[in-house]
Symmetry: C2
Subunit: 206 residues, 2 copies
């Protein structure tokens, strides 16, 4: 029964990450006081520096946690799709929807790049890109889309999706804007198909 040591440690780390995630997500990284959100879970900055080195280290941990969740959610979505093409479109849509969440917008998409540098330099951010480019590679090999550079396309589409999310989130009418964005994305993706479907309306079919 004497093994709760490692558990306590993990719990402390988890509490710190959770507290920081809450604070970063609402107040933003710069305005989140380490004294405040550590004491909110009954700890001090001492524990924080011991486990994460500094404030940036904690942000990295928070982002890693969020990124892992995003990856799992994307995996769950694509595993439920029938056709390859449909799975790809579904993943794009799910990615866009996730990017709409304020916590992800604030921590991963805005403060993250500012504090930790460009996401392209992170070890994590590749997860989504890799998954996306793998999909595109298969689609290209199977002749479903026109030949091209899968990774380049994945990065371009990734940027388009993230930007669309910001557009939607800050729109006065998010619902309508979301529909416009999704239509636009389908339009873009449709242009990649070797044999595009006739009308944009049923671009998601196939």
């Amino acid at each position: 029964m004497h093994k709760p040591r490692a558990e306590m440690i993990a719990q402390t780390r988890a509490k710190l990450v959770a507290a920081a995630r809450q604070a970063f997500g609402t107040a933003g990284y710069a305005d989140a006081s380490m004294d405040d959100f550590t004491s909110a879970v009954g700890l001090t900055r001492g524990a924080l520096y011991h486990h994460f080195g500094d404030k940036k280290g904690l942000l990295e941990a928070v982002i890693a946690e969020i990124d892992a969740e995003m990856d799992a959610r994307l995996l769950a979505v694509s595993s439920r799709s029938q056709s390859q093409w449909q799975g790809f479109v579904d993943e794009c849509t799910a990615y866009l929807e996730m990017a709409l969440e304020p916590e992800i917008q604030r921590i991963v998409l805005r403060d993250g790049p500012s504090v930790l540098g460009d996401p392209a330099t992170w070890p994590n951010q590749n997860k989504c890109i890799l998954s996306m480019s793998a999909n595109l590679k298969r689609l290209s090999a199977d002749g479903i889309i026109r030949p091209g550079d899968p990774e380049a396309l994945a990065r371009l589409l990734n940027g388009a999706l993230l930007h669309a999310a910001s557009w939607i989130a800050n729109s006065p009418e998010p619902e309508a804007t979301s529909r416009r964005a999704v239509e636009g994305i389908k339009d873009l993706l449709n242009g990649l198909l070797r044999f595009p479907v006739a009308t944009p309306a049923n671009a998601s079919g196939c």
Copy 2:
């Protein structure tokens, strides 16, 4: 001879903006000390607070200046193109190249969104979007591209271009990556055309 008052004021503002632009572009917004870069041009924080209210206000001014320069450069590029389609492609390429500059990356693309909120909420950032969507609208009306939502497409392409710029800038081989990105963009844009041109890569299709 007595009119240098307004001139001196404008000069002070310009010096502050220039100093801040230099500091923000190299050290980043968070690590740029107001005391440091004001004294670098023979002023103090007093002048800064008088003219710009606070540090964020100064960042807004810096971004506005950079944005105006970007807009002028884009205008110059598109005015030199013959066809509408070529002009659009040229503008996209120029936009990508500008987004490669470290100063723009750091100030406008990373720190700006983090400090001032999403660019979609700025009054300026619309310049490029508006110009882009106007181009797309004309292209659509003239039947050069397939029908669609010009503004949505503009935002998606804008995101793709910005993301591509980050990808290139942080790539170990920027030259090669740049070529891949440009090819990918052309591929994407080509998919928008009503009658896609045959590229060496997909000469057999369509």
